[in-house]
Amino acid sequence: MYNLLLIVPLLLVYLELSSNFELSNVVVGLLIVSGILLLIRPRRRPMAWHRLPSAIVALIKYVVILAYDLIMSGIQVARIVLDPALPIQQGIVAIPSECESELGSALSAHAITLTPGELVIEMDEQGVMYTHCLDATKSEQYVAEAQKMRRDLLEKIFS
């Protein structure tokens, strides 16, 4: 049952990439997708159906915040580079991620790298992310609040 749920999106990706919607191509794609699923054998996860709407709402909110951060980061880096005086005060700030799962830590590191002027350099076993900032004199309060909001959204998505 769970494998049947995975066949449909993989088949859609194959049909899009080959851009050929005839019946023979659908059969060939079905064979390839089932071969991939037999090779990988994904682990079965319990699906919480009653929590699905709140997870979808949290996912949409997360993607919107990520897109806004991406655009702001592009504009900010371009402004710093094109300034003749190069106003950078670089430094490394430690941010604790406080996520239980490894997937949550990895995804919050990915999101921090997309936010303006920050880039995760190193990460230790307790989940503390050492972040390189272009403007290290910014208040630490703002960074902690953004990380708390991000962690709440990720826990809602992957619960």
Binding site: V13, S73, A78, I80, Q90, T113, L114, L119, E122, Y130
Partner: protein, 111 residues
Amino acid sequence: MNLFLQVIAILAVVVGTLFSVVGVVGFIRLPDVYTRLHATGKVGVFGVVFLLVAAAFGEPLGWGRGLFLILLLVITGPATAHAIGSAANRIGLPRKGAERDDLVYTSKSKS
């Protein structure tokens, strides 16, 4: 309708080229490896994403492949930047004029 799509494609190509120029200028001007990572990792990917938006609007069949490539770039771009920054930290490159430095370099692999 066709006019609208074409104006969007022209604007996307112009903005993407501007971001590519900014990325290479930052790669030359910035003083340090860690700050150059910001310029190339973010602004370089930004230029390709805007060109792909132009390809998704300008070609009749290109939207699916363009969206797939945008997703791939947005996922893999920060991972590449993190890998190169971690390598620069492991071999002990200095940070010029750092305001604060919470990460004390400890040599793990080499002694």
